[in-house]
């Protein structure tokens, strides 16, 4: 499952079930949630936007790489779009592999690569303003 949806629609159980495979003994799940602070400032919410067709295509590439490089049977990546409040889910990655080490490693590769290659942008809102994350040096 590769998808972009509102945080309210993200269902970790459904994503876990989507990678279950009888040939796999491990499912590693990464859940990224909204933190309440950034460099000491209180964060009230995040807003995500994406270049949607390209984001889906880049997420699909990552899932394929994890399947090829970590012998994963199934990989699901679901990212939130729109507003996310503190504590809500921004991203879920689930990787199913025959044995546990590859599922941990594949999941880490997926989240690290997502941050580098997937055209999704995050705006952080503070009590006194907002900014697009990582925009300026």
């Amino acid at each position: 499952m590769i998808a972009l949806k509102s945080t309210q629609e993200i269902d970790v159980n459904e994503i876990t079930a989507s990678v279950q495979s009888d040939a796999c003994g491990a499912i590693d799940i990464f859940v990224g949630t909204v933190r309440n602070n950034f460099k000491g400032k209180n964060v009230s919410k995040l807003f995500f936007e994406a270049y949607e067709p390209m984001a889906i295509s880049e997420l699909t590439k990552i899932a394929d790489q994890v399947k090829n490089q970590y012998q994963a049977s199934k990989v699901s990546i679901v990212h939130a779009l729109g507003d996310c409040k503190v504590g809500e889910i921004a991203v879920v990655i689930a990787v199913a592999t025959p044995h546990r080490k590859a599922s941990f490693d594949g999941c880490q590769y997926a989240i690290d690569t997502l941050k580098d290659t997937v055209p999704i942008w995050k705006k952080e809102f503070f009590e006194d303003g907002s900014h697009w994350v990582f925009s300026h040096p």
Partner: protein, 79 residues
């Protein structure tokens, strides 16, 4: 041609997309990016700025046609 804008590039250029007239000397994606940076100097202050051509990250050498789908890609921050 229309250039899709996301994140901070929307704030810099002031719209969700930019109508751009491709000039003779803008042959590659690097040429186009340089012209955009010259027209909108604020783009040069970003940590990074790149283009996507037809939904793929550009490496700078792509030959650009009027019909291509171009997007400006400021620093990504998913996750």
């Amino acid at each position: 041609m229309k250039i899709l804008l996301f994140g901070i590039t929307k704030d810099i250029i002031g719209d969700a997309q930019l109508v751009w007239e491709l000039k003779e000397d803008q042959k590659t994606s690097n040429d186009l990016l340089d012209a955009l940076k010259e027209r909108y100097p604020e783009l040069q202050k970003l940590r990074s700025i790149a283009l996507a051509v037809n939904g793929e990250h550009a490496d700078g050498s792509e030959l650009i046609k009027q019909t291509d789908e171009i997007a400006l890609i400021p620093p990504m921050s998913g996750g």
